[in-house]
Structures are given as structure tokens and as C-alpha cells.
């Protein structure tokens, strides 16, 4: 395990805000498994991020919780849904007050990419979208 229980719970809460179904689809497991690989298959690898990927996630999650406490007076997981949504809207424009994690738009896009991976980027996800998977080589595992 790379992420702590608290970090996993927070990642699930963020994932649910980004795309409903992320928790049940296994967002925390996905990110944790990938961070434990020599070659993590996370979308963040496309973003030219020069640093350590575990730091990217843990620092981002810590900064998110800190921003939520400053903005909403509560950790992100315990903030009201409309507060969570309002905070999330500030990420892409890099307007998160007091943010001290990796670049906020990058963190948003990376985690958003992760939740789409787990909810819709698999054989089961394609079924949920009612589109054919049509594999040449079916992956041995979903991730």
C-alpha cells in the first residue's frame, strides 16, 4: 500500500465529486496499485511532470484538504456537496486559495483522468456506455 487509509478515503471522496461511481469502480485501488508499479499507467505520465508521482498525489490531496478547510471550514470529505463542487470548479482556472500542492489544474486533470479510467476505461466501463469493446488483445487485468 502506497496511500494511507486517510488518503485513500479522501481520493474516493474527490473521485465521487469528479465522476459519480468512481468509489465503487475502485479509484483508490487503481491509483494505489499504479503508484506501487515501476511503470505507473496513470494519465499524469502524459503531463511532463518532472517529480515523484507519489508526492504528486499525496501533496495534492493534502493541499486539497487544506483548501477545503480554509474555504469551507471542513475537510473535503465532510464538506457539503455544493461546497465540494464549488471548490472543484476553481482548479482548472488555478484559483484555489492557498493552494500549495502540485499545479492545481494538473492535479485536477490527472485525478479526473484517473476516475474516467476506472469508471469508463475498462471492459465493464464500455458496457456502461453501451459501446463495443472490440479488443485485439483483451487485457489480462483491468489495470
Amino acid at each position: 500500500m502506497i496511500l494511507t487509509a486517510e488518503q485513500s478515503a479522501l481520493l474516493e471522496a474527490v473521485g465521487e465529486v469528479l465522476l459519480p461511481g468512481a468509489r465503487d469502480a475502485g479509484i483508490a485501488n487503481f491509483v494505489d496499485v499504479q503508484l506501487g508499479r515501476d511503470d505507473p499507467m496513470l494519465m499524469v505520465r502524459y503531463f511532463d511532470w518532472p517529480g515523484n508521482l507519489t508526492d504528486f498525489y499525496t501533496r495534492g490531496l493534502a493541499a486539497l484538504d487544506k483548501a477545503s478547510k480554509a474555504d469551507n471550514g471542513a475537510p473535503f470529505a465532510r464538506a457539503a456537496p455544493e461546497q465540494q463542487t464549488a471548490l472543484m470548479r476553481k482548479f482548472l482556472d488555478d484559483k484555489v486559495p492557498g493552494w500549495d500542492g502540485p499545479p492545481a489544474p494538473l492535479f485536477y486533470l490527472a485525478v479526473r483522468g484517473d476516475v474516467v479510467d476506472v469508471v469508463y476505461g475498462t471492459v465493464e466501463g464500455f458496457k456502461r456506455l453501451d459501446i463495443p469493446y472490440m479488443p485485439h488483445i483483451l487485457p489480462k487485468e483491468q489495470w
Binding site: P20, Y46, T85, G113, V116, G121, P135, I137, L138, Q142
Partner: protein, 503 residues
């Protein structure tokens, strides 16, 4: 290069920094497909319009061609004479007429599908060896818009087989190109020249991370390369001809890191231009949602429909110096960087879920891909940060000029008109979709103004040859892989013919 040298009886060793990649490694998943993309040692990217690096990179056998989308176009005649014709940019040290036979030979050997009847833009060429791939629902929908505005289109010329060729199967249009094509329909190196090289006796050493090209004491001959193996041990392999094909960013990095007393500013850098003139293709994407079922998950990742109606760089016509082409109806799956989810990065929560459910069935995309001008200040330098072996990483700086910005704006405007004319009920754009990397060790006739001659031989060290898009003096407005193949074939034929003098 390796295939032709090995077939000519030369002993060839290919050093590959990454792992072995065979077609069995190309699983149909855009999660697992990331294994053939990017690098664990990303260069540092900066500037007003930083280059997007890791989408273009690869770290395994076959390099980035293992995951390329096989949109194979030729440069136009004026791309080779850009400076002479338009007064900006650079000229190549040869013309289209010089390169044409190599394009023709490559397309015959590899297999390129296209439509000679509707392709009205490609300069004189041998007929496409394979019939065009079909236009599917997404392409038909988009074509309505082009047709309504009187803009001609053609099926996209692609190094993707429309009928079987030897052991390679024909494309079944399932849209998995970005994850790698394991059936051999798409011309990745695993089924073309890398395969030929291995059959001819070439050796590929994986996990061989090249750090420097080594020379004799006088510095006028390359004698080998230094690399670090999977265990981290320093190794050296010697050779009579050294061909550097480590991609557009790493080629100049290795040359700069190969500085010695004979070459204090980097190997082959007497001009001071190693690393200079880095270019990309400026891109812009236009999307539309339609009531009809467009099945965007089908097709080819590189698209179905193509037009070069706006390719000309004539400033009097455009109001800017630059041209672009349309790559329409690209296949897209729900996830990943080029997936449907990234076409509306602003959405999250239920709106994202609703969008994915709709767009997965009703989306049409169209991409403008335009040229970049070679600017000396856009360049690779060595960073203060170092890799695990103590060698400086590459630092890449890049920005576009006003011409390119104007061109992108014009393309986005026209693209929206096309999408609306096609009948979309919702149209939007993504203004930044830059792709491909070129330059950094450009070829030219003047040793003071270029790094290599017209055959890729460095001016300073003639038995050191530079391969790939590094040598491009202009980017043109077309995907580079076909031209990389043609220029490399021209290079290797020259090296073989003049082996006694070069080796």
C-alpha cells in the same frame, strides 16, 4: 537504417533505452497502452508555448513509431524551399524531386492506403499501393460540412493496410491505434523495418541508455557510444558508423553531453546550432455533437477524412505565413489524453457523466494541424538537473510566433463553420492540440548554419549520422513519420554507397 544496413551485410547493433516491445505487448486498453508511451526521464519543458513531450515520447523497442497513428503525408515542394519562397524559415538542402523516389520506395515496401482520385494536394507521386480505408459514420457526418462549404476532402492517406500484405492483416477499424496495433495493419516498426532488421541479423539491445557518443582524440571520428545497461553498469559499444536516432529531444541532448576537449561546446556543434530550431505542429481541435449516431469509437485514431485546402503558406491569401491541414473524424475512446473525456476538461460530476454518455455515441472531431517556423531561440539546452547517471537532462524552450497564432485562430474559426454546416447542435473548440517534435540537429548545405549535411552526416564528424525528425529544417504542416522514413532511406543508401569513405 538498421534494416538496410543489415541487408547490405553490415553488422548492426541497435541500442534501445527502453524495454522490449512486441506486438503481444499491445493490449487493447488505453490504460495498458500507456506502457508504450512517454519516458521515465521527462525532459524539462518551458517557454511561452511549451512543447508537449511525453505524449510524443516512447521508452521501448520501436520508439514513438510503435504508437504513432500512421497518418502518412508527403511534404509539399515549397516546404523544401520555404526561405526562398516565403522569405522566412529555412530551406532544405535538397528538393522534393530529390526525395520523391524514396517516398515512393517506402510506400511500396510498407503499404500506404489512399485515394489518388480525390487527393489533389500531394506532389507528383507513385499511386497509392492500397485502396483507401472506408469513411465511417463519423467521417460521413463531418464530410457533409466540408461539402456544404465547397472544401474538398479525401480519405486520409495512412500507413494502415486496407487489404492484407504478407503476414500483416488488414485494418478492422476498431479505433485502438493509440494502444498499439498488434495485428500488423498499422505500420509500426515491429511489423516493418525493425522486423526486417532482425531477420537480416541486426541485434537489438534493450535497456541500453545511451549517454554519449565517443570520438577519437582528434575528435574527427566517432568511435562508439557509451551506455548504461539495466543493472546500471557503464558499457561501451564501438562502431565504424554511428547513427543517432534517439528522438528529437534526446539527439541534441546526447550531442551536448558528448562534449570533449575537441568539442568543448558539444559534439558536432561547431555551428552552435545543436539543439536549435525546435518545432512542433500547432494544433487546434473542433468538436461537435450531432443527433445522429456517429460511433466515434470506431475508425482510426489518426482520423478518416483529410483536406489540405488550406495548406498554402501564401501570406497574400491568408494574412499570415503558414498553412495547415485538416485531420477529421478521429476515433476516440472514453478515457485517456486523446479520449472523449478530455474534449470537455471543464466538466466534472454529473455533467461529465452525461457528456460521456452522449458524446460516446454522437461526437464528431476535426483537427487543424499547422506548420511551425524554425526559430533559433526555440531550442534544447542542458538543464542543471541530472539523470541517475549524472548527465544533465534536456531543457526545452519553445514559443510560437504571431504567424502561427493567427493561423490557429483562422483554423478554429473555419473549423467551427464546417462543424455547423455539417449540422452539429453543439460546437466547441480546444485551442491547444500541438503535436510532433522536430528540429534540434537540422540539415543544411552551410556548415555554419546547420548541424548535418543533406545525408544526415554531421559536418564536424562525418561518420556520425543523425536520424529522425531532428534533421528537419522546416516542420511543414504534415505528420512527420513518412518523411522520416524517406529521409532515412536516402541517408542509408548514401552511407552504403560511400561506405569506404564514411566508415
Amino acid at each position: 537504417m538498421a534494416a538496410k544496413l543489415a541487408q547490405a551485410g553490415k553488422k548492426v547493433v541497435v541500442l534501445e533505452a527502453g524495454r522490449p516491445v512486441t506486438t503481444n505487448f499491445m493490449w487493447s486498453s488505453l490504460i495498458w497502452g500507456r506502457r508504450i508511451h512517454s519516458t521515465p526521464l521527462p525532459p524539462l519543458t518551458s517557454g511561452e508555448e511549451p512543447l508537449s513531450l511525453n505524449l510524443n515520447f516512447a521508452w521501448g523497442t520501436g520508439g514513438s513509431a510503435a504508437h504513432h497513428f500512421a497518418c502518412w503525408f508527403r511534404l509539399h515542394e515549397d516546404d523544401f524551399t520555404y526561405k526562398t519562397t516565403y522569405g522566412v524559415g529555412l530551406d532544405w538542402p535538397f528538393t522534393y524531386t530529390d526525395l520523391r523516389p524514396y517516398y515512393d520506395q517506402i510506400q511500396a515496401e510498407v503499404g500506404v492506403s489512399g485515394d489518388d482520385d480525390t487527393d489533389i494536394w500531394t506532389p507528383p507521386h507513385a499511386p497509392y499501393p492500397d485502396p483507401p480505408l472506408p469513411i465511417l459514420a463519423q467521417g460521413k457526418t463531418l464530410k457533409r460540412g466540408f461539402d456544404a462549404l465547397g472544401i474538398p476532402t479525401s480519405p486520409t492517406p495512412q500507413a494502415i493496410l486496407s487489404r492484407p500484405k504478407g503476414e500483416r492483416a488488414a485494418c478492422i477499424l476498431d479505433g485502438w491505434c493509440a494502444a498499439g496495433c498488434p495485428i500488423g495493419a498499422l505500420a509500426n516498426p515491429q511489423v516493418t523495418y525493425l522486423r526486417d532488421a532482425l531477420l537480416a541479423g541486426a541485434t537489438v539491445i534493450n535497456d541500453a541508455y545511451v549517454t554519449r557518443v565517443l570520438t577519437n582524440a582528434a575528435g574527427d571520428r566517432a568511435i562508439g557510444v557509451e551506455f548504461f545497461d539495466a543493472a546500471g553498469a557503464r558499457q561501451q559499444v564501438d562502431g565504424k558508423v554511428i547513427a543517432l536516432g534517439a528522438y528529437a529531444i534526446e539527439n541534441p541532448r546526447i550531442l551536448l553531453n558528448s562534449a570533449s576537449s575537441a568539442h568543448p561546446h558539444g559534439l558536432a556543434n561547431s555551428s552552435g546550432l545543436v539543439g536549435a530550431y525546435m518545432m512542433t505542429h500547432i494544433g487546434g481541435q473542433i468538436f461537435g455533437l450531432f443527433k445522429e449516431e456517429t460511433k466515434p469509437y470506431m475508425g482510426r485514431t489518426g482520423g478518416e477524412l483529410w483536406s489540405q485546402a488550406d495548406y498554402t503558406s501564401d501570406e497574400n491569401r491568408n494574412g499570415y505565413i503558414g498553412g495547415y491541414q485538416w485531420l477529421g473524424a478521429t476515433a476516440a475512446k472514453p478515457n485517456d489524453l486523446l479520449g472523449i473525456c478530455m474534449m470537455r476538461p471543464d466538466l466534472f460530476g454529473k455533467p461529465l457523466d452525461d457528456f460521456l454518455k452522449t458524446a460516446s455515441h454522437h461526437l464528431v472531431s476535426n483537427t487543424a494541424l499547422g506548420n511551425d517556423l524554425p526559430v533559433e531561440a526555440n531550442r534544447v539546452t542542458l538543464s542543471d538537473q541530472k539523470d541517475v547517471h549524472g548527465f544533465p537532462l534536456a531543457q526545452v524552450t519553445h514559443g510560437f510566433g504571431l504567424n502561427q497564432i493567427k493561423m490557429r485562430e483562422a483554423a478554429l474559426k473555419k473549423g467551427q463553420e464546417i462543424m455547423q454546416a455539417a449540422g452539429a447542435y453543439d460546437v466547441w473548440t480546444n485551442p491547444k492540440a500541438d503535436q510532433h517534435i522536430m528540429g534540434g540537429a537540422i540539415m543544411g548545405g552551410d556548415a555554419q548554419a546547420s548541424v548535418t549535411d543533406g545525408f544526415g552526416q554531421t559536418h564536424d564528424v562525418p561518420n556520425l549520422v543523425i536520424l529522425g525528425s531532428s534533421v528537419f529544417p522546416t516542420s511543414a504542416a504534415v505528420n512527420p513519420t513518412f518523411t522520416i522514413h524517406a529521409v532515412t532511406l536516402r541517408t542509408v543508401e548514401h552511407v552504403i554507397a560511400d561506405w569506404a569513405n564514411i566508415a
